[in-house]
Symmetry: C2
Subunit: 309 residues, 2 copies
């Protein structure tokens, strides 16, 4: 799957992933209204609204980008109907040829991590049959419990040729509270990065590893060091756009081959129709506003890649 | 909710929580067979089997214990039908008067953590109405992203009078890889414990805080220090029984009032019927074997509490 991701990024010349993290408040009124008319103001109605919203955006952008990253929390907040919508959007995106990175940030002790790995990337045994519950192509995972929380994911990735992105340095303001703690004069995120590098060597695709990392766009100084520590890991970079990261901050995330990073934007794309810049599209044409926002993002990031050449 | 938990623990004289973490392989054959006959060897069939297994055990033990801790990963591995079974078991246990600690170990950046908090402990807004998706009473959370990942949970706990247990030092063998890293000569888990203590002071019930901690039973030396650092936090102690923790290791987790800790056992209770000690019950009477295993655990833990007096 990492080979397929790299290939798609190269072909489209767009190291970009769109975060499908819809708040109900992002969804234009006409879609909410239609869903509530059909299903009432219920969890099912909310799930229908975010599904229709996502579907329209995916239909408008799938030819421009290699991958999407649905944030499972935004679906999970609507209970079981939300989880149903999550699985539906994973399936739909895969049918459209998109690679799906499930932003699930799971992490637990061994047998429990195994259940998460099996449920999201692998197949669970039921009697004589196997089933893939949520069947994402990649997922994000939390490393706080150490390698026996990560190993079950590695095992499933090996069997299924799928991949993971391990949280190393997150994009939020308080990420430093624990991640920046100095351990022998070096921040914890560097130690986590070194572990990721070791795991990634065990799990190589053609040029990059099935084991990637998450490093926030909001820390451009840190990115250079982490890029060096984890040369074979793809870096998933959240925080572009709404969280304050800009194109020029991204240059250090890429290797000299112009590869090695994939930049995520969520709110900036999903709510483009509300931004002054794309206001002319209006709420009826929200999906076209998202398309234009991606075209602009692609051009911004291509500018960065020119610099690395 | 923390007041209710403390009250129930006192009344039952049993600081015990049973982990409802069913692997399909734990479920006796007659229950699997029945579920597969009705629903086929499908995810729905698997979900039905673990639901019936859980229900029978809950029916046999609910009068002995204050709380249960379903591990969401064990349900999530069966996709949407598994999540449906999870919600069903949460509801059922609450109807039986049990307090439900959802072992979800979620943690993300601010707006995303808010979605998790709302989905598991709070209520999500849909049009003019509010819905509680998974409605646990407590959940476990992962602190790696720092306080802006924790704050949304605190906010919801304040509104709903619910609680959280924050991972401080987990029971698995590799928990030391990052949690034990020395930061200014002190292990990271102590710094996390200090943060938990600060959060817990902001969120007090009568004698204990709505903010608790998870500290594994497998580290009795560490427990004394963490008990001191977080005097107002209930400590959820996994690792008793199958993971190697024993009753006598637990004494340091309790305060002088005989309170302050709740000990979890999962596999040891759920699969009691397969253990030599309870073999006489046989697979048909698996729930009665679980009941006997709890009676023995209660007596073991009461012995520990005698020592603290």
């Amino acid at each position: 799957m990492i080979n397929r991701l790299v290939e798609k990024i190269k072909k489209m010349n767009a190291p970009i992933v769109v975060g499908l993290d819809p708040m109900l408040s992002y969804v234009p009124e006409q879609i909410q209204k239609k869903a509530f008319t059909e299903f009432g103001e219920t969890l099912e109605g909310a799930a229908e609204a975010i599904w229709q919203f996502n579907k329209a955006i995916v239909d408008a952008i799938y030819d421009l980008i290699p991958a999407v990253k649905p944030q499972i929390a935004m679906y999970e907040q609507f209970g079981v109907p939300g989880m149903t919508a999550y699985e539906k959007i994973v399936t739909y995106c895969q049918e459209k040829g998109l690679i799906v990175i499930g932003d699930i940030k799971r992490g637990d002790i061994a047998s429990t991590s195994e259940a998460y790995a099996v449920g999201h990337l692998g197949r669970v045994r039921v009697g004589s049959r196997n089933y893939a519950g949520f069947h994402e192509d990649f997922v994000t995972i939390n490393p706080y419990l150490g390698s026996d929380g990560v190993n079950p994911f590695l095992k499933v990735c090996r069997e299924e040729k799928k991949g993971i992105f391990i949280l190393v340095k997150t994009s939020n303001p308080s990420s430093g509270e624990f991640q920046d703690c100095l351990v022998n004069r070096r921040p914890l995120y560097e130690l986590v990065g070194e572990k990721v590098a070791r795991w990634s060597e065990e799990m190589m695709g053609d040029n990059y590893s099935y084991v990637g990392a998450v490093v926030g766009a909001t820390y451009p100084q840190i990115s250079m060091m982490l890029r060096k520590i984890m040369p074979k890991s793809y870096i998933l970079v959240p925080g572009y756009g709404a969280q304050g990261g800009k194109g020029k901050d991204l240059v250090n995330f890429f290797n000299k081959d112009g590869l090695g990073a994939i930049v995520n934007s969520s709110r900036g794309i999903l709510t483009a129709y509300r931004q002054e810049q794309y206001g002319a599209f209006g709420p009826e044409h929200f999906a076209q506003a998202s398309r234009q926002a991606i075209l602009d993002m692609v051009s911004d990031i291509r500018g960065v890649l020119e610099v690395t050449k």
